[in-house]
């Protein structure tokens, strides 16, 4: 596989993983990223078919942003993040599936979606790695975001509302996840199929954890995993009789689980307030 192909395979995952990184640094664990990504995929396919791939990209970003805003509102009310995220996965899968099937009945097949050339999404993902690092470490806004993930009470004491910050971060992250979905439809696949994210959202969660919440290690892990995912298609293409292709499908998940099992237990590294609902004290 050429480096270009590896990047194409890895790009959707990288956009999603960086988006999840931002959210988790702000203190929000978003299980539902899978559903948000699917929304991006469908929006990209639906819009690109009549209007062209660039509009598809824009629509995907908007769809992802709106989906994540829904999640953000729910957890802003104090809901448990894991539960709300699980709901988002079902909503994403159900909504995209329902819309797709009813459109299928009217002739939209999801096949032959106009695609984007190599470049913007792949290189964009790499640029995003640097951008996210710079934002978190070198800007005041990034400082506030990180503080929300470590100690939201300190942020409130400093006169900012952690809830507002989290909602804003999730909105941006949603847009990025949507772009990741677009990268899947408009680059790697060229078509829309129900459930096409195939667990990439969950893999993004694992990658953030394994990369210890730092953009560069996350990027490295993502590219490696993207290569493994792409590699499995190659193996299928080669018709390797001995290795059943379904097991190859499971390879990324098994690899991730194996790494999680082998890496020694460490509570160190995560944002201290990750996953906890923030309650205003008044």
């Amino acid at each position: 596989m050429s480096p270009a192909e590896v990047l194409t395979a890895a790009a959707p995952l990288l956009w999603a993983a960086l988006a999840e990184l931002l959210g988790e640094r702000a203190g929000v664990l978003n299980i539902g990223i899978e559903g948000v990504m699917l929304s991006g995929c469908l929006a990209a396919a639906l819009t690109a078919t009549p209007l062209g791939p660039w509009w598809g990209l824009a629509a995907a970003a908007v769809a992802g942003c709106l989906a994540n805003l829904l999640f953000a509102m729910v957890i802003a009310s104090g809901a448990d993040q894991v539960v709300a995220g699980t709901g988002m996965v079902l909503v994403g899968a159900g909504l995209t599936g329902a819309i797709f099937r009813s459109l299928q009945a009217r002739g939209f097949s999801g096949a032959l979606v106009p695609t984007l050339p190599w470049g913007p999404l792949e290189v964009g993902a790499l640029v995003l790695v640097a951008l996210v690092w710079w934002f978190l470490q070198r800007t005041r806004a990034g400082l506030i975001v990180r503080a929300c993930g470590e100690n939201p009470d300190a942020v409130a004491a400093a006169g900012r509302n952690p809830v507002t910050v989290r909602v804003a971060v999730l909105a941006v992250a949603g847009g990025l996840v949507g772009v990741g979905g677009a990268a899947l439809v408009l680059r790697a696949a060229g078509s829309f199929v129900e459930g096409m994210t195939a667990g990439r959202g969950f893999l993004a969660l694992a990658l953030v954890l394994l990369g210890r919440w730092r953009p560069l290690p996350i990027a490295i892990g993502t590219v490696l995993l993207g290569a493994a995912t792409g590699f499995q298609f190659h193996l299928q293409g080669l018709g390797l009789a001995g290795v059943p292709y379904q097991l190859l499908l499971a390879l990324p998940y098994v690899l991730t689980l194996a790494v999680l099992a082998l890496v020694p237990p460490s509570r160190v590294g995560g944002p201290a307030a990750l996953g906890k609902a923030y309650q205003r004290q008044r």
């Binding site: 969660l205 097991l247 999680l260």
Partner: protein, 324 residues
């Protein structure tokens, strides 16, 4: 009780929107839905049959969540159970023991599948949300491999297993309806769970550990072990659900065996407030919804996958409500 009203409102509201979006007539759709779910004795049996896997998964999730363990993996555990049951039943000559053997294998497989996540949590501190989700994805791939490979039917035409022998089928009291023994077993499990939670020391430890793990630890309860045990038991319940679905309803294993019962189980458990009996009622509601969706698709053209959407919305709305 507000929880239930809210859930009903979401179901009705979302259902209406979906029906209108598809361009169907709401009254016609409602009629088709009710007929599909309750319109005849056969329909009622269908509702109860659809309730069964939801109840098993709902109980599994309720137990785990109650103990403070986020088991998102009921889906994978159910699939592991169905696969193991298929393999076990097909491996031995048919006989009166076939059915019980299938259930036993299914339960153990589900427990073991959850056990992986439990072990990772206990000894490696791995977050169970992530591990159970990954195990779900692996299980789906595993079923796909099994029905394309070692468990595929002799004719090698379709990605499905051979039909299990009649001797292994769970008893259906009122044919041609599909209500089977599995439903009664699920009710029994509900009762046992109520008993265990309210009337055993272990149940108290589960509830205390889920309510305040620090306090339980201070009182000398070994919270991590109790939670690991709860996760394994949760897997057992989901695995039984898979085995029951196999031996009671489908009689063979195939691709896409579960339309997401494991995830729906989460909605069911939340609606039931993590209490076993209320969970059973919630499972019946969602079972009726599932039965209704068949009629809705036939008559009104509403895609069945819309039920996933409705379940997701119920979860979200209930989650938001939990804030005081």
């Amino acid at each position: 009780m507000r929880r239930w009203l809210l859930a009903m409102a979401v179901i009705a509201g979302a259902g209406l929107v979906v029906v209108l979006a598809v361009g169907a007539d709401p009254w016609q759709a409602l009629g088709a839905a009710l007929a599909s779910a309750f319109g005849s004795p056969v329909a009622v049996q269908e509702t109860l049959a659809r309730t069964t896997p939801l109840l098993w998964c709902g109980l599994a999730v309720a137990l785990a969540f109650r103990a403070g363990v986020w088991n998102i993996g009921a889906e994978g555990q159910l699939l592991a159970g169905a696969t193991a049951a298929t393999a076990a039943v097909l491996a031995v000559p048919a006989g009166p023991w076939s059915g019980p053997l299938g259930l036993l294998a299914g339960g153990l497989a589900g427990a073991a599948w959850a056990g992986i996540a439990a072990a990772l949590r206990l000894w490696r501190g791995v977050n169970e949300v992530l591990s159970t989700i990954l195990l779900n994805l692996i299980a789906v791939a595993g079923v796909s491999w099994a029905v394309h490979g070692p468990l595929q039917e002799a004719a090698r035409t379709y990605p499905q297993s051979d039909a299990i022998p009649r001797a292994a089928w769970l008893w259906r009291p009122f044919p041609p309806g599909r209500l089977n023994l599995g439903f009664l077993l699920a009710l029994a499990a509900t009762g046992l769970l109520v008993l265990a939670l309210r009337r055993t020391g272990w149940g108290l430890e589960i509830r205390a550990g889920g309510d305040s793990p620090e306090t339980a630890r201070v009182c000398g309860i070994r919270v991590e072990r109790v939670q690991a045990g709860a996760l394994v038991l949760s897997g057992l319940l989901a695995g039984l659900g898979g085995a029951v679905e196999l031996t009671g309803m489908t009689h063979r294993l195939f691709e896409r065996f579960s339309p997401g019962w494991g995830y729906s189980g989460i909605a069911v458990a939340l609606l039931g407030g993590l209490e076993p009996v209320a969970t059973a009622v919630a499972a019946a509601l969602f079972g009726a919804l599932a039965a209704a969706s068949g009629g809705l698709q036939r008559v009104a053209g509403v895609p069945t996958v819309a039920t996933l959407l409705i379940q997701g919305l119920v979860i979200i709305v209930l989650a938001a409500r939990r804030q005081r």
